[in-house]
């Protein structure tokens, strides 16, 4: 249960901070780097807790995080 709350908290915090930056590009990019990194860590933590952590899963979270990061930082 705590995993779900942690992810929800992470998403809400990220979106709130983005709103607080007045949509400044530079801040949003920094926030997105932090958000994607924490999401990757969250994925590892969640699967470790469920005892289902596997290198394939870690790689999947890493690629998903990279995709999310690139989708935002590539907007000039």
């Amino acid at each position: 249960m705590i995993d779900y709350i942690a992810l929800l908290f992470l998403v809400v915090t990220y979106l709130s901070l983005v709103l607080l930056t007045s949509f400044s590009h530079q801040y949003i990019k920094f926030l997105t780097i932090g958000f994607t990194l924490l999401y990757f860590i969250w994925g590892l933590w969640h699967h470790k807790r469920e005892k289902s952590l596997h290198p394939k899963i870690a790689l999947e979270y890493f690629i998903i995080a990279m995709l999310g990061l690139w989708l935002i930082i590539s907007i000039p």
């Binding site: 690629i63 990279m66 999310g68 935002i72 590539s74 000039p76």
Partner: protein, 280 residues
């Protein structure tokens, strides 16, 4: 065709119970395609600025018209264009590019009023609004009106004259379009390009000018469209995967689709609200 689509988006035995798009190889391919697409956009914006670029449809006269529209809507007299303030605004914009700064005061401490005085405008009251990276005149004025301090300048009853400069250049290595708007009131000011009655009628008649401009698509808009397309593709696939995994009660070695979906919803929200221009 249907079978391929099914294999791409729906988990079943032919794709090892995971949509093909969500396989590691496919995700890496998507990342590669995304990086390549954005690189092409960046190159095009530099090599072919007429196709994609930082060049915008911001026009000083339209900024003035739209500013006066706002004043008229708020029961303020429209401002007359001052060549001296236009010169001051141009000098300020040129100085920002030359000294590489984005601020009301230069790194050496030069205030906006210096440029106004240098243009031989003897001011009683003066004000300055700045904007950068917008795509058209309406966006600039809307952003200023959304900011209390800039709005105060636009609607200030003490101001009688206005000057605007729009200049393209590079600040901190980034190609950008700067908009400098200067306001002033002076008893000695005589220069106005248009008479005020002419300005009033023109201002009303051209409310939507900026919306009808035939613009080349900017690199910002193009990148945003590509990013949104990728996010929506991933969200659709993840949602379908989530639904079928839940319905079929599949057990597999994989990340959680609901978590990825939540992650990309946050990314989608940010990609939608991210704005290009900033005001100061």
């Amino acid at each position: 065709m249907l079978s391929t689509t099914y294999r791409l988006f729906v988990p079943h035995h032919k794709n090892n119970h995971k949509p093909k798009i969500l396989h590691t190889n496919s995700l890496l391919t998507l990342l590669g395609v995304l990086i390549m697409a954005q690189s092409v956009i960046s190159m095009l914006s530099v090599l072919q600025p007429k196709i994609l670029g930082f060049a915008t449809n911001i026009d000083p006269e339209k900024i003035i018209i739209l500013t006066n529209n706002q004043r008229l809507q708020n029961d303020q007299k429209s401002l007359t264009t001052s060549n001296k303030l236009n010169q001051a605004a141009l000098a300020k914009a040129s100085d920002m590019f030359a000294s590489n700064y984005w601020s009301h005061a230069s790194p050496s401490g030069t205030e906006p009023w210096y440029f106004i005085s240098q243009a031989d405008y003897q001011y009683k009251h003066a004000g300055e609004n700045l904007a950068r990276d917008f795509e058209n005149s309406a966006e600039v004025v809307s952003a200023w009106m959304a900011s209390p301090t800039h709005k105060k300048n636009i609607l200030d009853s003490r101001f009688e004259n206005i000057g605007v400069a729009v200049v393209n250049g590079t600040i901190n290595g980034k190609e950008t379009t700067l908009v400098v708007q200067m306001f002033g009131s002076s008893s000695s000011e005589q220069t106005s390009i248009l008479g005020s009655s002419e300005f009033v009628s023109k201002a009303y008649a051209t409310q939507d000018i900026s919306n009808n401009l035939n613009t080349a698509i900017s690199s910002f808009t193009m990148s945003k469209i590509i990013s949104l397309s990728f996010i929506i593709l991933l969200l659709v696939t993840l949602s379908l995967d989530w639904f079928f995994v839940f319905r079929k009660k599949l057990v597999r070695i994989s990340g959680k689709s609901w978590a990825h979906t939540t992650f990309f919803i946050a990314i989608l929200v940010v990609a939608i609200i991210i704005k290009h221009g900033i005001v100061l």
